[in-house]
């Protein structure tokens, strides 16, 4: 069968297996969602703790930047050697969280440092405490930038999550590896293609989601 003939079998495959594809897509979204929530809390937290202290800030950015340079297969391989980690969702979530940190920390720091010093000074002069200034003034003003970081991280880890299938991690990667494993058989391409297209579709869904969240959570005064 030529690839073109296989491609013609794609609609049939999808029609017969859409429930499996959807199930895997949902599992994929959950793994990405859980990772991004953890990375969001940790990343924004690290950003808030370090943005006023240059050495600490640089250290955090360097370490999280280092995470992003580790090839994902190598990181997965490394993680399963850690006792108690095992296979499945757990090591995948740990890896994805590590990959998601840099854009979130970086944008949190950039956003907080980008707040007009006059606004911070007037808040200080009015007697807002350190925490009040951060949570009521600085973070809300940095928020659109922070969310952009979260969005970039999400798009990065959606792709990396697909590779998690080699650790038996849940998600659309299963279809891609399955298709590759059946190389030469009639359904190899349709299976792999449904996994690939599923990942792309998921990316678009997350992007739209973050657009809506940004709109809803940003004050009209700074839009």
């Amino acid at each position: 069968m030529t690839p073109l003939e296989q491609l013609e079998g794609f609609p049939t495959y999808l029609a017969n297996n859409w429930d499996t594809v959807l199930e895997l897509a949902i599992a994929h979204a959950i793994v990405v969602g859980v990772s991004i929530v953890i990375a969001g809390v940790v990343g924004v937290g690290l950003g808030c703790l370090t943005y006023r202290n240059q050495p600490a800030r640089d250290a955090v950015l360097r370490v999280t930047g280092l995470f992003l340079t580790i090839p994902s297969l190598a990181l997965y391989a490394l993680l399963i050697t850690i006792p108690g980690m095992g296979f499945g969702a757990k090591p995948v979530i740990v890896a994805l969280t590590m990959y998601a940190l840099l854009p979130i920390v970086r944008n949190t720091v950039t956003g907080l440092l980008g707040v007009d010093p006059a606004i911070v000074e007037s808040a200080l002069g009015m007697g807002l405490s350190r925490g009040q200034r951060l949570f009521r003034i600085e973070l809300p003003l940095a928020w659109p930038v922070v969310l952009t970081g979260v969005r970039v991280s999400t798009l990065i880890i959606i792709g990396i999550a697909a590779l998690g299938a080699i650790l038996n991690g849940p998600g659309l990667g299963e279809l891609i590896f399955d298709g590759l494993g059946r190389f030469g058989t009639p359904f190899a391409l349709p299976i792999a293609l449904s996994g690939f297209l599923g990942v792309v579709a998921l990316g678009i869904v997350f992007d739209v989601f973050f657009n809506v969240v940004t709109r809803l959570t940003t004050s009209r005064g700074v839009r």
């Binding site: 007037s122 009015m126 807002l128 003034i137 005064g221």
Partner: protein, 393 residues
């Protein structure tokens, strides 16, 4: 002098890595209910001095007293809630509505929502912004002048006894600045706050200040006195240079139109007959008659030759009255208008635009003479006081 609201004792600020202190052993008393202007060349430490008061900059040594209480080591956030703060860039919170901006400190102090809403509306009225129109807007939807007013309202929100203002009108165009200064002085007449006001502009200092402290390097006080004294008796060459030339002209900034007897130009109503108007004009020694509308608002200046033109209606001939000032304007404002006017007289109108009198060259000259005499008498009195105080000691 009433009891000092703010007292600074030997205040010094050294920034790390600088050999010279930014502020050195500054002691001064700021009396209750007055505007004290700190003025001096750039880099003299006037802004640093102001920020030492609410401890945005912590002093290296010395003490700060607020209402008699030593606040040098008090909780800075609590201290700052008692001190209104206005900076040049205003620093409104862009993500919050005008209401929420003004409500910031009352919320921190735990006021009820009803009380806060009433207070915000009251303050918006005070600074001349219609609450129903502006309350729910965001800062970006306001003009620079309006933002500045909101900044002042926000600083006043919790009714602090003290306000610090760092070049509050510095970033505003000259026309709006002048209006905002006048408005602020009017508001201050009612609220009587103790205000520390920083500027580098001696003219603004003379206009706004009940007292002026002229600061030299390291915030050393070159002279601290009432503006009229500083203008008539500068303490040294530095002060003299800083005031610049034209001290007598500057003194006109200290005098308000309402405090002087206004000039008397002939007036007529728009519905009066020409011969009557002409007769009134001839009976005076002036070159023009001022025509008022039915509500008494000045409309036009008519000269004899205008009145001799029978063809045109009274509302089309003569000169439109352009030079107008309000009673709280300074004589300097009036002089400026007067020079602009082709008749040689600035018309004084009250708040609703009704004619109240005129300021002409005679009025200015009489006022200048009176001020000169008063300054001389003041100087003599203070010298007498000093010498008698010396004898007691």
């Amino acid at each position: 002098m009433t009891e000092a609201m703010i007292r600074l004792e030997q205040l010094t600020k050294r920034f790390p890595g600088q050999s010279e202190p930014a502020v050195e052993e500054l002691s001064m008393e700021i009396p209750e209910g007055e505007i004290v202007v700190l003025v001096g060349p750039s880099g003299c430490g006037k802004t640093t001095t102001m920020k030492l008061i609410n401890r945005i900059i912590e002093p290296s040594s010395g003490r700060i007293f607020l209402e008699g209480e030593d606040v040098t080591a008090a909780d800075p956030d609590q201290l700052r809630r008692r001190i209104g703060y206005v900076i040049q860039q205003i620093g409104l919170f862009p993500h919050r509505t005008i209401h929420d901006n003004i409500a910031t400190v009352p919320k921190l102090l735990g006021w009820s929502d009803d009380k806060i809403r009433a207070r915000v509306d009251e303050l918006l009225e005070t600074v001349g912004l219609d609450p129903s129109r502006y309350r729910d807007r965001y800062p970006k939807e306001l003009s620079g002048g309006q933002r500045q007013r909101v900044g002042v309202a926000r600083a006043l929100s919790a009714d602090p006894p003290v306000m610090l203002m760092d070049e509050p009108f510095g970033a505003i165009d000259p026309i709006t600045r002048d209006r905002l200064q006048n408005e602020f002085l009017r508001v201050q007449e009612d609220i009587r706050k103790t205000i520390v006001f920083v500027t580098h502009d001696i003219d603004e200092a003379i206009k706004m200040g009940d007292r002026i402290a002229i600061l030299g390097e390291r915030s050393v006080i070159a002279q601290y006195d009432r503006p009229e004294v500083i203008l008539s008796q500068p303490a040294d060459g530095f002060v003299e240079d800083f005031i610049g030339s034209g001290a007598s002209l500057k003194r006109l900034n200290l005098a308000r139109v309402r405090d002087y007897e206004l000039g008397d130009w002939p007036t007529g109503r728009v519905d009066e007959e020409r011969p009557t108007l002409l007769a009134k004009l001839r009976a005076s020694d002036k070159g023009a008659i001022l025509i008022l509308d039915a509500e008494g608002r000045p409309q036009r200046w008519l000269r004899p030759r205008d009145l001799q033109r029978p063809d045109a209606s009274l509302s089309d001939i003569g000169l439109v009255v352009e030079a107008k000032v309000e009673p709280q304007a300074t004589l300097a404002d009036a002089l400026n208008e007067l020079v602009r006017s082709r008749v040689g007289s600035a018309v004084v109108v009250d708040k609703s635009g009704v004619y109240a009198g005129t300021v002409d060259m005679d009025v200015i000259m009489t006022a200048a003479e009176a001020m000169r005499k008063a300054a001389r008498a003041d100087a003599r009195a203070s010298m007498d006081a000093e010498s008698s105080a010396g004898q007691v000691r």
